[in-house]
């Protein structure tokens, strides 16, 4: 959390995150560029420029695949949440790797011609009416533009400027980029390969992204089935745990996090004001709800970040009906204080005979 914009708010976890990411990317490229030429028993080597282009292109695909697997994996198993923490650095790095791939392609296949390279790229192949031989480069161009937009707008300044909902929607471009990369690869290199190892790896990667997203969606649907009525049911009184929340999905699609703090219930929006992170999956630390994604904090009673921070989220009214905790679907303006609702005192347990006593 910060009240001012600086390029990167470094902390030890971010250093570790980036170090691991860079180590993985460096290892991929080093193995592809310097180890595999020794493994390949070609009479004449692949042109270094083409070899480099392939290395960076394959690396970008693998990085995108990992990035898209992190989200659903974290929803299925909370232990993966730390991988979300600095994912934007992963995305920016992917954009640079993809840009390097494009540079090698442009400066090799489309160089040495009397035409401008970009003109050659866009005009050399115009067979748009066919699958085999389709100018697959356009999919690569589109994916690269998407990745560059995402990288350029990854900073918190853009989050604040665009507002989280718009920023979040803009960053769904990652899916368009991934589908475009899949088309780029499918209509390009996969059409030529006689060795199908890459094809299998490509399908495994894309398959993992699809399966994880479906699994996360099904899991979420089971957990937060929409409920009818003016007041939405959240959970039974006995299901609440001190310092943690239960999440309710309202009929309008919004999610509410109902927290138990110091024996009282309070409800706030499940969407963090920072990046729409799931507040209900966080916990109370130092009397403040803490977002599991980037640690933004809010007073659960008012939805306000502690001073000097200014973030605010909507709050909701809570009631207990019978044994059921319910929230009202009409959100209060962000930052509105709502008096917490105390949980009913547990009924005293019936007397039990003392050890050794007999009836």
């Amino acid at each position: 959390m910060s009240v001012k914009y600086i390029p990167v708010q470094w902390n030890p976890n971010k250093w570790i995150y980036d170090a691991v990411m860079l180590a993985g990317v460096a290892l991929f490229l080093w193995v592809f560029l310097y180890v595999t030429p020794e493994v390949l028993s070609h009479e004449r080597a692949i042109n270094p420029q083409i070899h480099n282009a392939r290395a960076f292109g394959a690396c970008a695909f693998v990085m995108l695949t990992v990035i898209l697997c992190i989200g659903p994996a974290a929803r299925l198993d909370k232990r993966f949440l730390p991988l979300l923490y600095n994912r934007r650095h992963f995305g920016v790095m992917t954009a640079f790797v993809a840009l390097t791939h494009a540079g090698y392609i442009l400066n090799w296949y489309f160089a040495f011609s009397s035409r401008d390279k970009l003109v050659g790229l866009l005009s050399a192949n115009t067979s748009f009416g066919q699958v085999a031989g389709f100018p697959f480069e356009v999919f690569g161009i589109f994916a690269l533009i998407c990745l560059l937009i995402l990288a350029a707008t990854s900073h918190d300044f853009w989050l604040k400027f665009l507002t989280p909902p718009i920023w979040k929607r803009l960053h769904y471009l990652i899916y368009a980029a991934y589908f475009s990369v899949a088309a780029h690869v499918s209509l390009g290199i996969l059409q030529d390969q006689k060795n199908h190892v890459f094809t299998v790896l490509f399908m495994l990667g894309a398959g993992a992204v699809i399966v994880l997203h479906i699994a996360a969606w099904l899991s979420e649907r089971r957990e937060t089935a929409a409920k009818d009525g003016a007041w939405a049911e959240v959970a039974n009184v006995g299901d609440f745990r001190e310092g943690y929340a239960k999440i309710a999905k309202l009929a309008n699609g919004e999610r509410v996090a109902v927290y138990l703090m110091e024996g009282k219930l309070s409800a706030i929006s499940n969407a963090c004001a920072h990046q729409n992170g799931p507040l209900g999956e966080g916990k109370v630390i130092d009397c403040l709800v803490t977002c599991p994604w980037h640690g933004f904090q809010y007073d659960v009673r008012s939805g306000r970040s502690p001073a000097p921070f200014t973030e605010k989220v909507p709050t909701y009214r809570v009631r207990i009906k019978g044994d059921m905790v319910e929230v009202h679907p009409d959100a209060n303006p962000p930052g509105t204080y709502v008096e917490p609702v105390p949980l009913p005192e547990p009924e005293p347990e019936p007397d039990t005979p003392e050890e050794g006593a007999t009836a």
Binding site: A124, S127, Q191, D192, K194
Partner: protein, 251 residues
């Protein structure tokens, strides 16, 4: 109920989570390395084509013929290129030598450059200007075309220069845009036949009646096709005048 470890980015990772995260980090790094190895080692052999700088600069004399792509029929060779050989020529980059060859059509000329070689496919990338192609003294013998009839062939149209080794790999659908760009720059197109034709795997492919490869054929470049056309032997080079209307894409 047990306390689940909760990660906050700006705080030290909870102890129970550290082992899990360390395992994930190791698996991620190792997985990326493994993926690099598998993907890098899965690349196909680009074939034997290459620039033969090791042959040194080659300078020979012969008759220039426009098919319309410029061909030279060697009359005075050297240790490597013999009289009677016929081969195609290009300029540096994605350019042909048409403008330099047209004034010398049917005449004797001296050519000089570096060889591109892929099996029986031979091509000379000429030096710039008159150093690469200039008129030579002497009478030019007449090159008589030898019609070989109409053939239906199966194979792939490529740009001759990349195929011959300017790029490795220099054929296939992933290379199609580059091939198109070469052909637009007047690099000679080559048909790679799936079966030898009159003993040859590579044929210069042109349009009918001495025209360039029609633009309609560009959609089929780098695809496996069948097509019909007249074959003519010019020197020791086979020239296939493809009939674009007969092109069919095959599996």
């Amino acid at each position: 109920m047990s306390e689940k470890p909760f990660f906050v980015g700006y705080l030290p990772a909870p102890g129970p989570l550290r082992t899990f995260l360390l395992t994930v980090c190791i698996l991620l790094i190792a997985g990326l390395g493994g993926a690099g190895l598998l993907m890098g080692a899965a690349q196909d052999d680009p074939g034997p084509g290459a620039f033969r700088f090791d042959y040194g600069r080659q300078t020979v004399t012969g008759v220039v013929e426009l098919t319309p792509y410029p061909v030279i029929h060697v009359t005075e060779g050297n240790d490597r290129i013999k009289p009677g050989d016929s081969f195609l020529m290009t300029a540096g980059g994605k350019s042909g030598v048409d403008s330099r060859a047209e004034p010398l059509d049917g005449q004797l000329a001296q050519v000089s450059g570096v060889v591109l070689e892929r099996g029986d496919l031979y091509m000379l990338q000429l030096r710039g200007g008159r150093n690469g192609l200039q008129a030579a003294e002497g009478d030019a013998p007449v090159i008589t075309p030898e019609p070989q009839g109409r053939w239906k062939l199966a194979g792939e149209i490529c740009d001759g220069k990349c195929l011959a080794g300017a790029m490795r790999p220099g054929r296939g659908l992933a290379h199609k845009a580059c091939a198109n760009l070469c052909l637009l720059g007047d690099v000679p197109p080559i048909f790679v036949s799936t079966q030898p034709v009159l003993g040859e795997e590579f044929l210069l492919v042109t349009g009918p009646d001495g025209t360039r490869l029609p633009r309609e054929a560009y959609d089929y470049i780098a695809q496996f096709i069948t097509a019909e056309g007249e074959i003519t032997k010019r020197g020791d080079l086979l020239v296939w005048e493809i009939d674009v209307d007969t092109i069919e894409v095959t599996e």
